[in-house]
């Protein structure tokens, strides 16, 4: 049996670790509250605007009006993937699950050459583990995110898309469903098209809508549009080009912002859960060790007494 000294040293170190994990859990909880609040605030707006974009895209298919950001390219040669991860580790499987989701979606959809644009420094794993080139790394603010933080990213993406550098742009992020459930998702930002694979459509957040399908959009359309049987064609005021030039980049920015907010909320809750588990594991371990320690202590006392009494009885003879 290990000596009492050794056990008590281990016990102390575990208790110290537990203090740290406990502190991290509390910090993560505070950050999570803030992040959740902001994600819930903007979610309706983001979802409504995404529906608007999809509606526009749908109607542009119908009346053949094409905006460069809506047009589907004949040949897809190169793809950009915006990966939103965390800046720090110790958050369970948060980073690896969003990354592997991104990589898997690249593999299942033709294995096209993909450049990664990363937000959050942990995204560099895309290169170190999967050898996908990383073309840009942006700073990701940890809790409070505003449109201004996202603008450089959306500008880079829009510009390089319009320059034909990329033919498709995706964003990989983690959807915040609730504190214990976060779903990594890949969403197609550009071009905006309704006829893409189902798993690339999606309204963020709500559980039942994760995995939104074309049928869902079609149903909505039926509900709000074809009640009078009229064709689904938008009038644009002022001109179509002008308005789409303003609307689409802005709405895409909102999508990107929402993705970052969702990821932030997910990250902090993932970290909170991870730290909570570490905390529990530490208290289990320290309990076990305490027991061991007591046993060892008792054993040593018993053997000491036995020795003394043996010595005493030897003397008495």
């Amino acid at each position: 049996m290990a000596s009492t000294k050794e056990i008590s040293r281990r016990l102390r170190s575990i208790k110290n670790t537990q203090k740290i994990t406990k502190a991290m859990e509390m910090v993560a909880a505070a950050k999570m509250r803030k992040a959740t609040e902001s994600v819930l605030k903007t979610r309706t707006y983001a979802n409504l605007s995404w529906m608007t974009v999809l509606n526009i895209s749908n109607s542009s298919n119908a009346n053949k009006y094409l905006h460069p950001l809506l047009a589907k390219r004949e040949k897809v040669q190169k793809v950009a993937m915006i990966l939103i991860s965390s800046n720090r580790g110790l958050c369970g499987g948060f980073n690896s699950s969003v990354l592997s989701k991104a990589v898997k979606s690249i593999e299942t959809h033709g294995n096209l050459p993909t450049d990664f644009i990363i937000l959050g420094s942990k995204g560099l794993n895309a290169y170190s583990r999967y050898k996908h080139p990383v073309v840009a790394e942006f700073n990701k603010p940890d809790s409070v995110v505003s449109g201004a933080d996202i603008r450089p990213v959306s500008k880079l993406v829009l510009d390089s898309y319009l320059n034909n550098e990329y033919d498709k742009v995706f964003v990989a992020y983690t959807d915040f469903v609730n504190v214990v459930k976060q779903v990594p998702r890949v969403k197609q930002l550009l071009p905006v098209e309704i006829d893409k694979e189902d798993d690339y459509l999606g309204v963020v957040g709500k559980d039942e809508k994760v995995g939104l399908t074309k049928e869902y959009v079609a149903k909505k359309e039926e509900k709000y549009l074809s009640s009078t049987g009229a064709p689904y064609i938008f009038t644009y005021e002022p001109g179509g080009e002008e308005i789409l030039n303003q609307i689409i980049p802005r709405l895409l920015e909102v999508q990107l912002l929402q993705a970052v907010l969702e990821s932030n909320a997910s990250e902090h809750s993932a970290r909170m859960m991870a730290m909570n588990q570490a905390n529990k594991a530490a208290s289990d371990l320290s309990q076990e060790l305490q027991l061991l320690y007591n046993k060892a202590r008792q054993a040593s006392i018993t053997s000491e007494i036995a020795e003394i009494s043996a010595g005493a009885s030897a003397l008495a003879k």
Binding site: T52, I56, Y224, E237, R250, V254
Partner: protein, 149 residues
């Protein structure tokens, strides 16, 4: 009145959902001028300019709101307003609005001579405050004759 058609009216800003109700008609300030949307309006997308939105809701009350810009999407039985910011007139405090308006005007005058970027920012702010002030006035004038409810 009972079988008069309504349209689903939803107005959201990045911060919150301002209002989600059934309405008989909605007056929206677009860049091309003010438009009134009735149920079964043909689908339309337009850009909002700072101003006042007036909606006649399904209980025949009139809701007055200020917006500072954004987009409006009209579908057959639904009107969605994606506003940069919006407030309901009854949430606005008239004195605070007047104060803010004055301040914005002052800083606009100051900025006019200096920085171009700052000037645009301030001008936008002023537009927003003006829209708020208009919304409050409109709301008061609507409320007045019906005897303060």
């Amino acid at each position: 009145m009972a079988d008069k058609k309504t349209i689903k009216f939803e107005i959201a800003t990045p911060e919150r959902v301002v209002l989600k109700r059934q309405a008989y008609q909605v007056l929206v300030p677009t860049e091309e001028g003010e438009i009134t949307v009735l149920p079964e309006h043909s689908p339309l997308i337009s850009i909002l300019k700072p101003g006042v939105i007036e909606a006649v809701l399904d209980d025949n009350s009139t809701e007055v709101m200020s917006v500072s810009g954004g987009f409006v999407e009209v579908l057959k039985s639904k009107i969605v307003i994606l506003a940069d910011s919006a407030e309901r007139a009854e949430e606005l405090d008239e004195e605070a609005v007047e104060e803010a308006k004055k301040k914005a005007q002052e800083s606009k005058d100051r900025a006019e001579s200096e920085d171009h970027v700052e000037f645009t920012e301030v001008a936008v702010k002023l537009e927003r405050e003006l829209a708020r002030a208009r919304a409050v006035k409109r709301w008061r004038s609507l409320r007045g004759p019906r005897g303060n409810k």
